[in-house]
Amino acid sequence: MTRTLTAALVAVAAAAALAGCTSSSGDTGGGGAGADELKAGVFLDVTSWDPANADIGFDGPYLSAVYDPLVALDKDAKPVPALATSWEWSADRLTLTMKLRDGVTFDDGQKFDATAAVANLQHLKSGVRSGQAYLNVASVGAKGADSVEIKLSKRDDALLYFMGLGRSWMVSPAAIQANSLAGGPAGSGPYTYDKAASQPQSQYVFTKKQNHWDSGTYPFPTVRLFPITDQTASFNAMLSGQLNVQFANAANKPKAQENGWNIAQKASSWVGVQFADRTGSQVKALGDQRVRQAIALAFDAAGILKAVGNDAGTVTDQLWPVHSQIYDKALSTKYQNDKAKAKQLLADAGYPNGFTVKMPMSPIFAAWQPAANQTFGELGIKVEWQDMAMPDYQKNAPTYPMFLAVIAMDGNDMATLTDQVTSAQWYNPNPSVDAFPEVKALVQQAERAEPGPAQSDLLKQLNTKLVDLAWWDVWYQADNIYFSVKGITVTPVTGMMFPTLRFIQRG
């Protein structure tokens, strides 16, 4: 499952949990500052123990228990050393040389060295799910016994971020060769998977390795991870003391406060309408900037966030995360709900009576359909909804001129540019950058700029331009929320639907 589908699932679960009922009382049980065990309720089960087939979404806590990454992220999503102790870019930023940690051994006795790292990187590059992060990697080679050299076909300033996000877990090369990872992990991570004590798909138990090179980062002697999709079941487990950390629902925040739990939240995905046909090749009206702006103005984003999103998020029209330096608070009122102005813009564009458009619909997006129906109806836009299952939605949505979207966001500014603007994805089937010369120029300048203030400044200009063009109709950025008992803190990271274990600490 991709991060995007996961984001939609999370949003739907949050909406559905409004209907759930549960007791507000109960002690925090099993948690507390002295807890030896981390007992975390994760939204989804691990998709695969093979990092090449795993999702970034909710696999982070599982994989981070048993694998070490080459690159990790800090709380601001900045790449930091892990098994790669340092790295260096060539002047043209087309070659990345990484120095590797010495003295690391996989659980099966295989040594971690440059040969193992190369085998892993090649495996990840060819992976169905991980390969997306390595699209610009042309080759990988060992440079001596303790360094690897990654050569790029095109500059990629987001590569290290994606590696840190969950695309550089190192596994035993013997397991890659034997194709045995589907049966269980074979890593060098801070914990050992206790297969005997685990119940796959229900509970995964990990015990801490005392001699791990980064042992200090992982304070819990035992980690238990419970995949729990039902938000009410997860909250009940928190109340009963079976969990001390939970992927939570905003509807339960008052009860969490009553229980004295810690609450952490951060932007994770954007919700709104994706305009796939910005050039108007399918529906001429959508090629007119005023029509897209009219749609953006017509939606009561604050109302939708409150009613469907449990008020957990930020109303905005931008999709660089609210905490990003690219985000411009002043821009967020540009499309404040104004139906009269919306109708005027439609009339100015030559569509006073609206137009007809086909849009896909899947049960996963049904929570937003009434608001969409009402708003489009008020503008005279007649929507012919085409019902389909979620896998078909991902397959077919790109063929529609616009569609409702819940898209996972990234914590890295250049990754946002790549994932949301320039690269073709199912949720961004026609980047159409070439059709907008000003956008294209800013994109190219940002891609060529030196990382740092100059690049950020160009991205800010691009953000302003995209908002002005109503590139998307973002309603709000939805937060992911985590509850933890007193004595345990969770630090959310945009890009990770559930943070890796290094972000769950005592305190």
Partner: protein, 313 residues
């Protein structure tokens, strides 16, 4: 008796073949190309082609069916399209969970339904009988998930007698296993108890007024022996209801599995349906049909024992 058993076995095998075959074709028609759901949206066309070739999806449907069926009759249901682990292994992990809950719920329904049914049948119109009628209405009206949540709130969160979520295998601890299945089983059993009790009570009253019962009493048999005769004649309807409920609970346990986060076959069915993992769906169908056949077979045996006329049919 041997002919009776043979007939039931043959009809069971026919049912198994028909249902799994129908499921195979219906699932393929409904799912379409499964590669998008299985690989995610970043997969390249080449990777999708490779997966289609690996799972034999490009072969004609009849060829696929022939291959699946020839393996299935030997007990080999293939591998999951999602993680390429044997279907049998994955189902074997899930079946004990669902079976534990459903069997325990059925036992509760049988025992408590029997006690309440006989008690109300002996004193129709009494306090217990009126209570049963009220309970029938209330328990049928209450949604299963709501009952489950109430049980969790009282017994897991407030009293902490039972866990709120999860399943513990009896291999690890029989006590913890019982604790982990008690609340889910009770929430499944509540409706079944009153249904079995109602059937038994009505059957009891009907039989108790028949001539042979009066004759038994006239011959001076004790109240207990008469009651035993009445019960034996009144039980077929209740037994049939119990068997039907067991089959229904097997398929209907999904709500309870979600509320209690139990890794049973209901939640596996749901996840396999979402991503179009047809081998898992077929394996689950086959297992469910086998259970249905076994339960019906046992029911026929019991009914045959209770009423010898059934064996002659």
């Amino acid at each position: 008796m041997l002919t009776f058993i043979a007939r039931r076995l043959v009809s069971g095998i026919v049912l198994l073949v028909v249902v799994t075959s129908a499921t195979f074709f219906l699932a393929h028609l409904a799912v379409g190309d499964p590669t998008a759901g299985l690989l995610g949206n970043n997969a390249t066309p080449a990777q999708q082609d490779a997966l289609r070739a690996k799972i034999g999806y490009d072969d004609p449907l009849l060829t696929q069916f022939g291959s699946w069926f020839s393996h299935a009759v030997t007990g080999d249901f293939g591998t999951s399209w999602r993680n390429f682990q044997p279907v049998a292994d994955q189902i074997a992990l899930r079946v004990p969970v669902t079976l534990s809950v459903v069997v325990f719920a059925t036992l509760l329904a049988a025992v408590l339904g029997l006690v309440v049914g006989v008690a109300t049948g002996l004193r129709p119109g009494g306090l217990l009988d009126r209570g049963l009628k009220l309970a029938s209405v209330v328990l049928f009206a209450l949604p299963g998930f709501w009952v489950s949540l109430v049980l969790v709130t009282w017994f897991a969160i407030q009293l902490k007698w039972f866990p709120a979520i999860g399943y513990v295998s009896p291999d690890r601890s029989v006590g913890d296993w019982l604790r982990s299945i008690t609340l889910p089983s009770v929430s499944l059993a509540l409706g079944a108890i009153v249904m079995v009790a109602e059937q038994l009570r009505n059957g009891f009253l009907q039989v108790a007024n028949q001539d042979f019962v009066r004759t038994l009493r006239a011959r001076g048999l004790s109240h207990r022996r008469v009651t035993t005769h009445v019960l034996r004649n009144a039980s077929p309807a209740a037994l049939t209801v119990l068997a039907l409920m067991f089959v229904g609970l097997l398929g209907g346990a999904i709500v309870v599995e979600i509320v209690f986060n139990l890794p049973g076959i209901g939640s596996l069915t749901q996840s396999a349906s979402q991503i179009g993992d047809i081998p898992i769906l077929l394996g689950l169908t086959a297992v469910t049909v086998v259970f249905v056949v076994i339960v019906n077979f046992l029911l026929d045996l019991v009914l045959g024992w209770v009423n010898p006329k059934v064996r002659e049919r």
